[in-house]
């Protein structure tokens, strides 16, 4: 059963069509990347999923049906526009937000203790939120998203303000939540994080679905006929089946002739006596795909 299923949802604000006929599904046990340039309609889509906004058209099924108050307690949300009550102690702030997610205050306090210890915040629990650093506040916000053990986690730019150590900790936490069977929607512009974490992605632009599928499918669709090799000795001037050889930093990019399989090139290189430390079928980075698709679409729109 899908955790989220949107069917042709649309939302308009005045003259702006924020989301247009968008359909996608999110499954349990996956990290789903919701990508798109600024103003693409990501936040509006998320807000419609959360029932903060009602769609003008279309239908949203969440956790098996329409949104209810009870279901809101089964969702953890870290919005892009996020913050905490600045003037009150950290622990009181977190208990309040956890209680609004249906947690009994005593249970919330005990769960929060574990989370605060995990995130190295426990010693700051009596400090006012405004006295904490940006990174600490970011960790506290992550805690409010996760403390009630939600089945659906929606996080927008989760790594902002985090140092590499905490970034790694959050990544591990998200992966462990996925392994527990939770569905995670992650919206970010950090494509390396998407490549590392996401199982499937949805790229939207101007409210439309542009790319949708597993990371491998999408990268495969945009794969070029290039192979990256790092030889220990000289490469031959010409290699059968290779159309062009380009030198990069210590590596070579081989552009294959049409219909040539990478296996053939590997065999030819070995037969030519080349010793290799690297042989890689060049997969276009998601960043490139993102830029390419968005630029093409913008060109289309401008045309």
């Amino acid at each position: 059963m899908s955790i989220i299923k949107t069917l042709n949802i649309s939302k308009r604000f005045g003259e702006v069509q924020a989301v247009d006929n968008l359909s996608f599904e999110v499954q349990p046990g996956e990290i789903f990347g919701l990508l798109g340039p600024n103003g693409a309609g990501k936040t509006t889509s998320i807000r419609m999923i959360l029932d903060i906004f009602k769609p003008d058209e279309g239908e949203i099924r969440i956790l098996g049906g329409p949104m209810t108050d009870e279901k809101k307690n089964r969702i953890g949300y870290l919005p892009e526009e996020r913050g905490l009550y600045q003037e009150i102690p950290l622990e009181r702030c977190l208990i309040f937000l956890a209680a609004l997610k249906g947690l009994d205050e005593d249970l919330a306090a005990s769960k929060l203790k574990d989370y605060m210890e995990h995130f190295d915040l426990y010693q700051y629990r009596d400090k006012k939120v405004k006295e904490l650093s940006k990174g600490m506040q970011q960790k506290a916000q992550l805690i409010t998203t996760l403390v009630h053990d939600p089945e659906l986690i929606i996080i927008d730019e989760p790594f902002t303000s985090l140092d590499p150590v905490n970034t790694e900790m959050v990544k591990e936490l998200l992966q462990s939540k996925r392994d527990e069977g939770k569905a995670i929607i992650m919206s970010t512009h950090q494509m390396n994080q998407v490549e590392e974490l996401c199982d499937r992605i949805l790229l939207i632009d101007h409210g439309h679905r542009v790319l949708y599928g597993t990371l491998q499918e999408i990268q495969g669709k945009f794969a070029s006929r290039d192979i990256l090799v790092t030889p220990l000795n000289e490469l031959p001037q010409t290699i059968e089946g290779v159309q062009e050889i380009k030198k990069l930093n210590g590596r070579f990019r081989l552009t294959l002739e049409e219909h040539t399989k990478p296996n053939l090139i590997l065999r030819n290189l070995i037969n030519s006596g080349v010793e290799l430390t690297e042989f890689e079928v060049a997969v276009p980075p998601l960043n490139e795909i993102f830029i390419k698709v968005v630029k093409e679409k913008a060109g289309g729109v401008n045309d």
Partner: protein, 414 residues
């Protein structure tokens, strides 16, 4: 319902644990109490609130006053005032000697032409403003007693200022003594108190919403709680704080008046009637609900507290009207102006409480005012609850009264 309670509780705790709030809560009644205590301690005048008695010398004074009557007006001292309380001297020199000898604290010199000029002088070594007036009152009464040839009844009548009591035919009202300075300051104080308490509580509402916008907590809240639950929790929680503040301030005000009645000789008919606290609670709740709802509406519309503060000026003008016209209201508490202001919901809470501190307000006016207030609150609540939607809460624009009214009656669909 549970989430409304959580919001209510949190708003209450967050506000009452704020140091600035606690200081205000305690200092407001503490300062007048300390002043009163100071007067009691250093003024050395423990007067008796029942000392309306004409000739009663001030108790606690160790020395009496004296007098030198050059005009021959005083032939006898009234009954109840013996010659030890007001000592006669033949001439000023003898009186001065008595002061030097600490036998009297001062003396009145009644000039020869007193009957023509009406003037007399009072001599004493030091001046104590707190007792001087009372001393003058004694000699004044003694002289009047003699002028009236010992007719105590006439003296009693004459000693009261001539009072024209305007009697309204319809309501049975009781006017209070309006010659006493407190006849003005007491209703004025109640008016100020009401203004401060209602505005403070209603402004807490505005601050609470705009802070959530500024702190960017609003979107997390919107994903956890219905806007109307959030609104209800806030309005009830902050209302309780206002109520606590009002009961504490008004209660301690009444207590101070009671204690002050002894210390400052406040006449009993200027004490606040106990039922004013009950009406005060009712009108506070209604006034608070009215203005807090408006403030909530402003909070929803504007993006930050700065923008909200400017908007507040527009909204509080009607609330300020009774304060600006307080003189006229107190002077004629059952006049047309007072009655009209009592029936307009925006000015009613303050006007009615000011009037109640000055006179007895006819019951029908209280009931009509309450009815109109409830109707206005229901109308506004409906409009503002409609404004309390995610889309408006997550955005913000420059405030204008036009936009406010438009949004109030035509909330956008989210």
């Amino acid at each position: 319902m549970k989430k409304t309670w959580i919001v209510l509780k949190t708003e209450f705790i967050n506000t009452v644990t704020r140091r600035s709030f606690l200081l205000t809560l305690i200092l407001v009644p503490l300062v007048p109490a300390l002043i009163l205590g100071g007067i009691s301690l250093f003024g050395g005048d423990e007067g008796d609130s029942s000392s309306g008695t004409l000739f009663q010398p001030s108790q606690g004074e160790t020395l009496p006053d004296g007098y030198v009557d050059l005009s021959g007006v005083i032939n006898q001292l009234p009954p109840g005032l013996d010659s030890d309380s007001l000592v006669e001297f033949e001439n000023p020199d003898a009186a001065r000697d008595a002061i030097q000898a600490d036998e009297i604290k001062g003396y009145f010199l009644i000039e020869k032409d007193f009957l023509k000029s009406g003037e007399m002088k009072y001599f004493r070594e030091d001046f104590n403003p707190l007792t001087a007036m009372e001393t003058t009152g004694i000699i004044d009464a003694v002289v009047r007693y003699n002028l009236l040839e010992g007719d105590l009844d006439q003296l009693e009548t004459l000693s009261q200022p001539i009072e024209v009591n305007r009697v309204d035919l319809a309501p049975e009202v009781e006017e209070r003594d309006n010659t006493h300075p407190l006849a003005f300051y007491l209703p004025y104080g109640v008016s100020m108190l009401f203004y401060v308490v209602i505005m403070t509580s209603a402004s807490l509402m505005l601050g609470s919403i705009t802070k959530e916008k500024e702190n960017r907590v609003m979107e997390i809240l919107m994903s956890s709680i219905k806007p109307v639950e959030l609104f209800t929790g806030k309005i009830l929680g902050l209302g309780l704080i206002g109520l606590l503040q009002m009961v504490l301030w008004m209660g301690s005000g009444m207590l101070l008046l009671k204690l002050g009645g002894t210390t400052l000789n406040i006449p009993p008919n200027l004490q606040l009637p106990p039922q004013i606290l009950i009406w005060g609670i009712a009108f506070f709740i209604l006034g608070y609900l009215l203005y807090a709802t408006i403030m909530a509406g402003i909070g929803v519309l504007v993006p930050n507290l700065k923008e909200a503060s400017q908007a507040t000026y527009v909204v509080i003008i009607p609330f300020l009207i009774p304060l600006m016209l307080v003189g006229a209201i107190i002077e004629n508490p059952n006049g047309i102006l007072s009655t009209v202001l009592s029936l307009i919901p925006f000015t009613a809470p303050n006007t009615i409480m000011t009037r109640m501190a000055a006179t007895t307000v006819p019951l029908w006016q209280l009931l009509v005012a309450i009815g109109l207030l409830i109707a206005s609150i229901l109308l506004l609540l409906r409009g503002v609850a409609g404004m309390f939607r995610a889309q408006t809460l997550l955005t913000g624009s420059k405030f204008s009264l036009g936009l406010f009214i438009k949004t109030l009656f035509r909330p956008e669909r989210t």
